[in-house]
Structure formats: structure tokens, C-alpha cells
């Protein structure tokens, strides 16, 4: 009799828990997607793709152009343009220790000088002409807000 009563209680708790979990799963899903959105926007992969796209896109402008890109005020990045000047590697340095610091690469179709810059979060991509020749330049700084 006592055993039966306890199983009834367990069943009741089980059903209530399942319903609560179903409701919570929606909230968890929203919370996770928001967290992911924040991480994804500032991630190495996203910043590498954005930078490479902007570096390629400057090629489609006639004459001089200057594009500014600030992916995040809080996170700093290490960047490296490869020796051929055709690929950029980005490493996001998230302050949270549970986020892995991964390096992501992305290619661009224009030609930039090979360079390595650390701890920056403001990027300026320029296309300019000098003595009839076209040049591309990537500059980066650290800004805090």
C-alpha cells in the first residue's frame, strides 16, 4: 500500500516535471540561441568572413575608399594576413574561459600586404591610388567604450 502510494507520487512528479521541462525547453532554446548569437557575431569565423568580404568588396569600388569595421567593443582579436597577401587569419580572444579560442581563416580576392597585428577590435580597410597604381591597406587598433 505504501509502495503504491509512493509510485503514484513519483508519477505525479514525473508528469509535472515533463510539462515543466517542455515549457523550459522553449526558454532554454531561446536563451541558448541568444547566447549563440552574441558569440557568433564576435566569433573568429564570423569576423574572418566579414573582414575578408570587406577586403574583397573594396576592390569593387572605383577610386579611393575607406571602410571601418568594429566587430565588438569588448573582445580583442589577433589577425594575420598571409605571405601571399590573399588570406586572413583571425583569433577572437573572448574573456570568458569556457569559450575556446579558435583561429579562423578566410580568403579575399584583392592583394594586401602581409602583416600581423595583436589585440585589436577596430579595423579600417582602404583602397587608394598612388602614382597611377592601386593599393590596399588594412589598419587596426584597440578601442574601449
Amino acid at each position: 500500500m505504501k509502495l503504491q502510494l509512493e509510485i503514484k507520487w513519483f508519477l505525479a512528479i514525473f508528469i509535472v516535471t515533463v510539462i515543466t521541462l517542455l515549457i523550459l525547453s522553449k526558454l532554454v532554446s531561446i536563451a541558448l540561441s541568444q547566447l549563440y548569437q552574441i558569440i557568433a557575431e564576435s566569433s573568429s569565423q564570423n569576423v574572418a568572413i566579414q573582414l575578408a568580404s570587406l577586403m574583397s568588396a573594396t576592390g569593387s569600388i572605383m577610386g579611393r575608399i575607406e571602410v571601418e569595421y568594429i566587430p565588438s567593443n569588448d573582445i580583442s582579436y589577433d589577425i594575420e594576413v598571409d605571405s601571399m597577401g590573399k588570406e586572413i587569419a583571425v583569433k577572437a580572444k573572448f574573456p570568458q574561459i569556457y569559450i575556446q579560442k579558435i583561429t579562423s581563416e578566410a580568403k579575399f580576392c584583392t592583394s594586401f600586404d602581409s602583416q600581423k597585428i595583436q589585440d585589436v577590435n577596430r579595423f579600417v580597410i582602404e583602397k587608394y591610388e598612388e602614382n597611377g597604381r592601386v593599393y590596399y591597406r588594412l589598419s587596426a587598433w584597440r578601442i574601449n567604450e
Binding site: 509502495l3 513519483f10 514525473f14 549563440y36 569593387s60 579575399f108 592601386v134
Partner: protein
């Protein structure tokens, strides 16, 4: 009394497993979905950006007597200097061979555009001078090869590198490996003692080794490494049914100040790695 505790433990355990599995499922689902979206868009985006950059390149666009250059208006004379010219729209095999022939690849001094380890075939068609028996077109291949990257990014090397990078050296993983080694060794010892000539010691050693290897990576890590090591053309072929991304953009072809034809530039990208 003992029965109460058993049911309690089982149900609590099942709940814990269920919640953990559900949370893991949600996280993997979300991360994998976003990863695949990025992969699909990459080659398409690259082709569009390259086509747009070609449309604005100083070595190709028309510039007037005041040195003002016009985006999207390609100078026929400049095209002749950079690309292979065809009056058959490259339907002639010999002419098309010239487009892909390494001897006719467009060098960096002529056009400093293009992606590393990517073959970009560019075809420009004069739509106002393209009939059945005559079709004016220009074509060429932009290729920037980086031997080191080609070697480093070959699928087998990439797969191995990914496995090494995703290797877990946490205490929890170590405990799991030790447990698998002990379980494998026990099973191996039993099997080894039954098989003549093997013996329980060798069986235990083999069993331990198999147990450790089996716990080195999770199935998700292996799947992730397989996805990462698939070459770009195959990824494109899986996602779009074609290993090459074709992007056609309308242009104008300027023969002289009074003769301007409508045209189209088609950029086909084949990303090698």
C-alpha cells in the same frame, strides 16, 4: 523499503540522462546548422565579390579623355590585352583550351585579383554581337596557387589535424579512458585466454588499447572532422549539385566612345581547398 529507493534512483537517473541528452542535442543542432549555412554561402559569396572586383579593375574598365573611369564599362581594347579573344563564343574546342591552358593563365601583373588555390574562369560575352554563327567573347583563367596550403589542406592531413586539435585532455576524459582500458583489458583477457597461443596478458593489452582508442573522440567530433576535411568542390557539389559556382553579372563593353554594347561577365569559381 529497498524497492522505494530503487525506483527513486532509476527515475532520478533517467531524468538526469534525459535532460543532459536534450541539452546536448539542442546545442549540437544549433551549432551544426549555423556551421553548414556558412559553408554553403562561401563559394557563392566569393564568386560574386570577384565578379564585382573585376568590373571595377583599372586594367579593364573604360576611362575617358579626362581619366575618369567607369565601373561596369569594360574597354574592349583592354580586354584584348588581358583575355583570350573568341568570335565563336568559345564553342570552338581549340579556343576554349586556350582559356584553361596554364600558358594563357592571367598573370598577377595583368590582373591582381583572385583567390588563393582557386581556379577562376572568367568569360565575357558581347550580347549585342552574339548570334548563331558569330559570338564575340573574351575568356581567361585566374589562378593563384600556394603549394604549401594545397599540401596542408589535403583531406587526409586536415582530418588528422582536426582529430589532434579536438583531442580532449581533461581529467574527466582521462578517467573515461582509464575505465575503458580496464573494461577492455578484462574482456581481452577473457577472450585471450580462450584463444590458443594468445594468452590473457596479450589479450588484456590489446583490449586495453582498443578501449582507449574507442574513447579518444566522440562520434560528434569525428563527424565534425569529416565535414571540415571535405574539399571545397565536393562541398559545393553536395550543397548545390554543381562543383563550380557560376555568377553572371550584366556589363557594358565599350569599343569606342560611340559604340557601347551590352554584355555579361560570368565568373566560375573552383576552390581547390
Amino acid at each position: 523499503m529497498k524497492g522505494d529507493i530503487t525506483i527513486n534512483v532509476i527515475i532520478t537517473g533517467l531524468f538526469a540522462i534525459g535532460v543532459a541528452a536534450f541539452a546536448l542535442y539542442l546545442m549540437f543542432k544549433m551549432f551544426l546548422e549555423i556551421e553548414s549555412v556558412n559553408l554553403q554561402a562561401k563559394t557563392e559569396r566569393d564568386a560574386i565579390l570577384l565578379a564585382n572586383a573585376i568590373l571595377s579593375h583599372k586594367n579593364l574598365v573604360y576611362c575617358d579623355s579626362n581619366f575618369i573611369c567607369y565601373r561596369g564599362m569594360l574597354d574592349a581594347n583592354k580586354l584584348n590585352n588581358t583575355f583570350v579573344y573568341s568570335t565563336s563564343g568559345f564553342n570552338d574546342t581549340e579556343e576554349f583550351k586556350m582559356v584553361i591552358d596554364p600558358n594563357f593563365w592571367i598573370t598577377r601583373d595583368k590582373l591582381d585579383l583572385g583567390y588563393e588555390n582557386t581556379i577562376a574562369n572568367v568569360i565575357i560575352i558581347d550580347l549585342d554581337d552574339c548570334k548563331r554563327d558569330r559570338c564575340v567573347a573574351w575568356g581567361g583563367s585566374i589562378v593563384n596557387l600556394n603549394a604549401w596550403e594545397l599540401m596542408e589542406d589535403n583531406p587526409i592531413y586536415k582530418f588528422g589535424k582536426c582529430l589532434v586539435e579536438s583531442f580532449d585532455i581533461s581529467l574527466g576524459h582521462l578517467a573515461k579512458s582509464v575505465g575503458a582500458c580496464i573494461a577492455g583489458a578484462g574482456l581481452g583477457a577473457v577472450i585471450g585466454s580462450v584463444i590458443p597461443g594468445v594468452g590473457s596478458a596479450l589479450g588484456a593489452a590489446i583490449g586495453c588499447g582498443v578501449g582507449v582508442i574507442a574513447t579518444l573522440w566522440t562520434p560528434e567530433e569525428i563527424v565534425n572532422c569529416v565535414i571540415e576535411s571535405i574539399p571545397e568542390p565536393i562541398k559545393m557539389w553536395i550543397t548545390t549539385g554543381n562543383p563550380i559556382s557560376h555568377k553572371g553579372i550584366p556589363i557594358n563593353i565599350v569599343y569606342d566612345a560611340d559604340t557601347i554594347h551590352k554584355g555579361r561577365i560570368i565568373v566560375s569559381l573552383l576552390e581547390l581547398v
